[in-house]
């Protein structure tokens, strides 16, 4: 039953992700690839879509995958799939925060929570690092490990965008620039 599977998978993702932004990426990548819901390339494409639309990445990706997987049951199936996946990713946060809001004072100075966070923060860095490596393989070497002109140009593009990103240029500008340069590279190499 795809709808239950969507709900449970995204519930798990919501429950085990700490911190904002891309902290969710390693877990999403693992689940999405294991279930063959999206290809690695589609996942990276969608990160760009998510950066260019409002709202948190977690909500965007769960809505998208839910819709894609539910669409085999028609448009309503797509909407229901999106609903199940999004509800799944939201519910753990919602329940946990409701509990904590009641017991706030106890939680605030909890040594166990502080300790867990001191392990989780560096773990997220390592995990996203690993997600990056596997995605970089797809981006640069999706047609085998040969160094072609295309690979070199893409790598130069990556470095240029990295400089812009570090200089705090807005992600949407980076995506638009990359799109334009991608089109130019594509037609020139054709």
């Amino acid at each position: 039953m795809i709808f239950l599977k969507l709900f449970l998978t995204f519930f798990k993702i919501g429950l085990f992700t700490f911190g904002g932004g891309y902290a969710m990426l390693p877990l999403i990548q693992e689940e999405v690839l294991a279930n063959a819901w999206l290809s690695q390339e589609q996942l990276i494409n969608f990160i760009a879509v998510s950066e260019s639309t409002p709202g948190p990445f977690a909500i965007n990706i769960s809505t998208y995958i839910g819709n894609v997987m539910g669409t085999e049951f028609g448009i309503l199936g797509g909407i229901f799939g999106a609903f199940c996946a999004t509800l799944g990713v939201v519910l753990p946060s919602f329940i946990i925060i409701l509990i904590i809001a009641r017991l706030f004072e106890k939680f605030k100075e909890n040594k166990i929570v502080d300790g867990a966070m001191s392990g989780l923060k560096p773990a997220v860095v390592g995990l996203i690092g690993s997600a990056f490596i596997s995605m970089a393989k797809t981006v640069f070497f999706h047609s085998g490990f040969s160094i072609t002109l295309n690979v070199i140009l893409l790598f130069v593009l990556f470095l240029a965008m990295l400089v812009l990103a570090i200089k705090k240029v807005h992600p949407i500008i980076i995506i638009c620039l990359s799109a334009v340069i991608g089109i130019i590279i594509g037609y020139v190499l054709e």
Binding site: G55, V90, L127, L164, A165, S178
Partner: protein, 186 residues
């Protein structure tokens, strides 16, 4: 009763606005949440918002959802949480739903394919930026470097489920901080 309903409605509209106007989500949302809940509506104090952010960061789930649920609860109990969270989720949900119906066909156009070839390289750059930002937030000590390297190796080169890596790192963090505290006492 009527007053409570109006407050919930206000929470819903405010968080809908926050969800609709922040690109990138999570941390990008925090300044807007602060302005809307502290300055504009005076629902919570400046100190409260810092606590909300600290809690949102140290509990599972997206920061946007955590802070909406928390602020909603502080303002108006359970239904406050419900409407604030619904509000922050709904804009993304609607927009992505609309996009995903056309995205697949759109991706088959040749120029779009070329564009996405470039975009994927740009996304990698954004990921590196995210890693650098998160690295800066880590309190640097030997234990933290061990966790960073170990979690990277386990995720990149073994088939171990990411969830076990996450649980393991949390337990390791608890163990090392308890040990450090014990040593501090003696």
């Amino acid at each position: 009763m009527k007053q409570k309903f109006l407050l919930c409605l206000k929470l819903f509209i405010t968080f809908f606005k926050i969800g609709a106007f922040t690109f990138g989500g999570g941390y990008a949302m925090i300044p807007l949440i602060q302005r809307e809940t502290v300055e504009t509506n005076k629902w919570i104090s400046d100190e409260d918002i810092l606590e909300v952010i600290a809690i949102a960061e140290s509990t599972p789930g997206p920061i946007a959802i955590n802070s909406a649920t928390f602020v909603g609860f502080k303002v108006c109990g359970f239904w406050g949480s419900f409407f604030a969270t619904l509000g922050v989720v709904l804009p993304s949900f609607i927009i992505i739903l609309a996009i995903s119906f056309v995205l697949a066909e759109f991706q088959d156009i040749k120029a779009v394919k070329y564009a996405f070839n470039g975009i994927r390289a740009g996304v990698l750059a954004l990921l590196v930026k995210a890693i650098i930002t998160m690295f800066k937030k880590v309190k640097k000590n030997i234990a933290a470097y061990i966790v960073m390297i170990l979690s990277f190796i386990l995720a990149a080169f073994t088939d171990i489920n990411v969830i076990f890596v996450i649980i393991g790192c949390a337990l390791f963090g608890i163990a090392t901080s308890l040990l450090a505290k014990k040593e501090g006492k003696e």
